[in-house]
Each structure stands twice: as C-alpha cells, then as structure tokens.
Symmetry: C2
Subunit: 396 residues, 2 copies
C-alpha cells in the first residue's frame, strides 16, 4: 500500500495551520508530510510593523519551525520554490531538489502590489518579512545618523508611508512611538521629524467603521503623523515621491504598504488568477486540480456580495484549518467541507497601549482594543504551538 | 584696569587642556576666559574607532563640557566658528555672534585629507567625530540588513578601509571583532564578509617599528582582515574604489582614514599653512601674531630632523598645557616657555585585549600593550577631569 505524499509549500499562517492540523490528526502511516519554507522559522506577519519601526526586536516575532513540528510525522525542507508543475505533480526548488506529491498545498503568501507605480519596486521599502523589516529599521536609523552629518538634509528625517490601510496605520503608530528614542540616541530635535502617511482612498483604513477611523486618525495625528488622503502617488524616486498632482515630497525613506498580490509563482505555474491570487472552488482547489489546495494570500475568495475578501492572517489561518481537515477527509475517503470564513473581528494597533477594532458587532477603542489584540495574538500562538508557545512568545 | 579676554576655539585635546590649565592657574579677576565648541561635549578622538565599528556606544567616549568647566571662571559657548579676523581681534560664529579677544587660542582640529582622490569626499565615510562615526556604525548595519534582501549584493558585505595608519588599523581590528555579532544579528554567513584595508605605503602603520607591524598584521589577518599595501586608491565611487592599477573593488562601505589636514579656517583666515596646518614659532604663535596661539592638529611643528610631527592627541595635549602656561605668563608678565614635544609612547589598539606599541624604548605586544593603552587613557582623563572623570569614563 502506498502512503500518500502531502507537500505543503510555505510556513506562513495558512501552510503552518495545515501542517499543525495534519500532524495532530493523521497517524504516522497515513501520510508522508513535507513542509517547504524559505526560512527555518515562521514569523508573526501581523506584528512585522514593530521590528520595522524598531520598537521590538525581530526575534520576538520569529518562531523556530522545528519547535512546531513533530519530526516523526513531518519532514521539513528549508528551500525556495522555483517552479510548480501541477501537470506532473512536481515542485522544483532553487537548490535543484525535485519534490513529487500526491497532494499539494500552496501557501506561498504575497508580494507587494505596486499598481504599476513607477519606481516603487526600486526605491520603496516594504513590510513583508523579517529581512525586509530589518532593513527598514536599519534604514531609519541610518537616516537619523546621516542627518547630523548633513544638517541640510531635511529629507533624512522625512518618512513617507504609502498606504493607510492596516499595515500602514499600524506602522506609523509604531514609528511615532519610536521617534523620541531615536531623537535621543541621535541628538536630533524631534520637531524636525516628519511622518507622512499617504492614502489614495478618501479615508485612512478604507472599509473600516468611520468612528473607529476618526479615533485612529486623531490619535496618530496627536503623535505627530500627517495624513494625506485622497492623494495618489504617481512615482517613487531616490529623492522621495511625486504625487498625482505633480507635487514632490522629498523623503529619505519611503515605505510602501499600499497592498499585496499573490506570490507570482501562482501565475507562472499557470493557475487562473486575479492580482496574482488563484481562483479556487469551495474547497480551496483551483479548477481542474483536485489534488491541489491554494490557501492564504495566494487564493481569491468572495463574500456573499461577490466582492473579494482582503487577504488576512485570520482568513489564512481558517483556510489552513479547513485544508487540513479536507486533506484528512480525502485520504480517509471522507466528505470535504466547503470553506466559509468567519470574520470574528479585526483590531488595528495604534502603537503603545492603543488600538481600534471591531469584534463581533462591538467597536473597541484604546486600551480595550489593545488588550483584545493581545487575546487574538495569544489565541493564534495557542493554535499553532499550544501553551508552551504562548508562554514563550506571548509577551509581544 | 581691563581684564584680558582669552578666547579658546575648540574643545578637543588642545583647547580643552588649555582651558583646564587656565582655570586651575588663574584667579577670577585675572582673565575672562571663553571656550567655544561646536558641541556641548568633548570626545575621546583616540577611541572613535570603537563606536564607528559599534563595539562601544558613543556615549562612552563623550564627556559633557559643563562637567569640566568651573563656570565661575570659564564661559562656554556652543557654536560653530565661521570666520577668524586676526587683524581685528574678532571671531564670528555661524549664529551671528561676534566675539572679541585679547588672546586667541585656535584649536579647531582637523579635516580628512583626501589628497585629491576623486569621489572620496562624496562617497567615503570618515572617522572624524561622534556624528561621523555614528553614521559609519549605522551604515555598516544597514548594509548587513540590505544583504538579506539582495543576496547577490556581495558588495554589501565588503568593507574597504582606505589607509592603514593608526586609525585604519585600530578600526579594522574593532570591526573584525564586531563581525560575529553582526552576522548573528542579521543571519549572515561570516565567510561572506570581507574587510579590506588598503594602504599606499609599502607597509601598514608607516613609520612604526617593523616587528610591531608584523605582529599587528598577523593578528589582524587571523581576524579576517585582508591588507593591500603598496596600493593607491585612484577614485572612490558609489560602487566602491578604483585602484591606481585600474582594478575595481566593489564595496558598499568605504571608510577613509588616509590622513588629516588642519581645519580649513586656518587657511581661510590668512595664516601661512602647509596641508592646512599653520606654521608657528617656538611658542606656538603664527608669525606676526603675538596674541594668537595655534595648537593641536591645526599647527605644524617639526622634529630635530626638520620633519613635521604627525598630528596626535599626545602632542595636542602637551601643546594645550604649554599654551595654558604661556598665556598665564603673558598675562602676569612672565617668560614664555618654548614648546618641545615629549613623545612618551605610542600604542595602537588591535581590538579586544590586543595592541602593539612603543613606550620609551620598549616594544609592547598583545595584552601588555593593551593595558598600557588603558593607562594612557586614564592618565588623560585624570589630567582633564581628575579622579571623578577617571571613575566615570575610565572603563572603555
């Protein structure tokens, strides 16, 4: 009897939850599970804005994959996926390894969506992974250090954040909190620092409750953040950004948080996509591939009004859980369960001790929302690593 | 009766020692002493290589000027000298202040000497003051953070140090010590990091005893530093350096330690100079100006063979002492003492617990030399701030 091979690509929220479910449910002889990930660690994407601003060390949001794996049940490969060949049931890694599978889970996350804005890819930094946020932190500090050597360099102390969605808002809140310490360390007058958050939509946090948006904006403005809404960026240069109206904002640091698209491997592997996200059936399978699941930021799912859900950790986690259940069912000959997201709530951090959010139908502000965010964080840690992981990493 | 005004420009080794001597010797009604300095702190120039490499925090080598001053005797002005008008006994500051004097001490330190090498001023960093070394530290860390986002960027991990004199050697020793921690922090393979020290002279530490040079080079090579001697840099670009033979070394960071010249204000104020250093008489006065003393890196003095002494902290300190004595004599109608340097010894740090040097006629190696360097450091702290300063800052 052949043991089916399950190959999971990516150890983000979706891939990791799939793996955690499978290793809990399946016994040793039911499946040969392999998890491939670019790094030997998982990271808490929803907290990347903290090491980006430098308010927390990146180690705080890294979780060693070996700690989460039962090595008797799951084989882990640190590697970068180069190509997916769905018609041959093969995956090629950059180091030359070829991996065959009976079932494939594609959970390769996202890439920044630049909407064709010129120069963004070359000149803007992005809050994407541990490496990219470490570079943001160092870039910010480098600009502070540069300022004292080039006192005319006002743009050294100007930080433009493109996009005032969740990531943008959470980052500017964190950065504003960090400014006093940076000014102290680098002997810089805090009055010289500018944080400018630019959003093309008519409002920050598009789609969020207006009362919560107002609370967030008021608070962040008090912390020194300037918002430019209804303002599109036309181009990013090595000098800063050029707005749609032709105005230039000189800035030594531009951080783009304006959106994400699915990993480009989805497109290049021939799946039908929109913004790099694969169309999937009710069971998260791309049409015509009954042994492939595409989950997390790589998959496109729609709400009851027919509009796509934005990619979130919450949905990715639920998809991973659903995918794990359906793989178990498929192996055991059970019935597949369609994926239906349950949006429990959304909380955006605004920096130290402050947040806004909606949980169920209730709006939360300030410290209450902040505590709720911690509850959500802890719940996730519990799901992937149980009590030990909550105790180890739960302090952020 | 008019109280004579003594104006001291610069609170480096020379200016500070002048001030310390005067405030100890003169009583309140003998002179009106003013000290002008760009910052409100003095810094231990001979230890700048440590915060530059990031092995010590820059606060460790900063000393608050207010702590050294008897405010009843010395008036301190934080300001930048814009112009010296020796014929009008006037000094203008950048903030518009005009300061008149009866006696002037010019101790404005040095600037990097680029020897006309193209691009050096624009693209190389220099170990010059707190601000410049803070930028070096941040630049190094930024390059490490960049590497993980651009794995092809080998030059991100290449650090070129131009000049293998004292500063160059001390810096590469320190940087080599820091590499393991940087690699750990940024998840970089230490084997990928290159430190290349380039020297135009036939040997590193030109003018130093050959046995000591060999010891230093062997040790630093073991720490991973590559030396290119007999190698001139023709040009510095934003990509690295181009050597005289046309070879290019790609490097994300170039640090120039190849030499210094006197502060350019010496030249622009009309004093006769060579490499920006003023010719002075036996009493450190420029010809034709009996009420002006030029000391430290700004002054040019010659040894018995008629060759100029290199500018060092040791000579600057002794000149400050001599200048303080001569000012006291001049005010009291005493006799001036000619300045004769006493080269007590020279010790170059090679990183953690290691140094080489000559004290008297004795060669020192390794830990012995390292301890001697600490003794010299402590002696200096004692001279400017007594026991309390030694206890406070003596740990570096």
């Amino acid at each position: 009897m052949m043991v089916p091979k399950i190959l999971i690509l990516g150890a983000g929220y979706g891939g990791l939850m799939t793996m955690v479910h499978l290793q809990r449910e399946l016994s040793y002889n039911e499946a040969e599970i392999t998890l491939v990930n670019k790094h030997d660690y998982h990271y808490i994407t929803t907290h990347l804005h903290e090491p980006a601003a430098g308010t927390a060390h990146h180690e705080r949001i890294k979780i060693d994959i070996k700690e989460l794996i039962d090595e008797k049940k799951v084989n882990f490969i640190e590697g970068i996926v180069k190509e997916i060949k769905p018609d041959q049931n093969l995956v090629l890694l950059e180091d030359g390894q070829e991996l065959s599978y009976d079932y494939l889970v594609i959970a390769l996350g996202s890439e920044p969506e630049t909407f064709g804005i010129k120069g963004l890819r070359e000149h803007a930094l992005s809050i994407r992974n541990i490496d990219s946020v470490r570079m943001i932190k160092e870039h910010i500090e480098y600009m502070f250090s540069k300022y004292n050597n080039e006192p005319d360099c006002e743009e050294c102390l100007t930080f433009v954040v493109g996009g005032a969605g969740f990531t943008g808002i959470e980052f500017v809140g964190e950065l504003a909190d960090r400014i006093p310490a940076l000014c102290e360390e680098f002997d810089v007058d805090p009055g010289k620092v500018k944080i400018i958050n630019i959003e093309a939509s008519p409002s920050a946090l598009p789609g969020f409750d207006q009362e919560l948006v107002r609370y967030a904006i008021d608070l962040l403005e008090k912390k020194g953040v300037t918002f430019l809404v209804n303002t599109a960026i036309k181009e990013c240069t090595d000098q800063g950004v050029i707005l749609a109206n032709g105005d230039e904002i000189k800035a030594g640091t531009v951080i783009w948080t304006g959106g994400v698209r699915g990993n480009s491997l989805i497109e290049t592997s021939g799946f039908e996509t929109k913004r790099g996200r694969a169309k999937v059936d009710d069971f998260l399978r791309p049409p015509g591939h009954e042994n492939i699941f595409i989950i997390g930021d790589c998959s496109l799912i729609f709400n009851e009004e027919g509009r796509p859900y934005p990619p979130t950790a919450q949905i990715a986690t639920q998809q991973g859980e659903n995918c794990g259940k359906n793989l178990t069912a498929q192996i055991r000959g059970g019935k597949l369960i369609p994926f239906i997201p349950h949006i429990r709530g959304t909380v955006a951090s605004l920096g130290r001790g402050e947040a806004v959010g909606v949980v169920g139908k209730r709006k939360l502000f300030g410290f209450t929302a902040y505590v709720m965010k911690k509850v959500i964080d802890h719940r996730y840690l519990y799901m992937i690593g149980g009590i030990p992981l909550v105790l180890k990493k739960g302090k952020f």
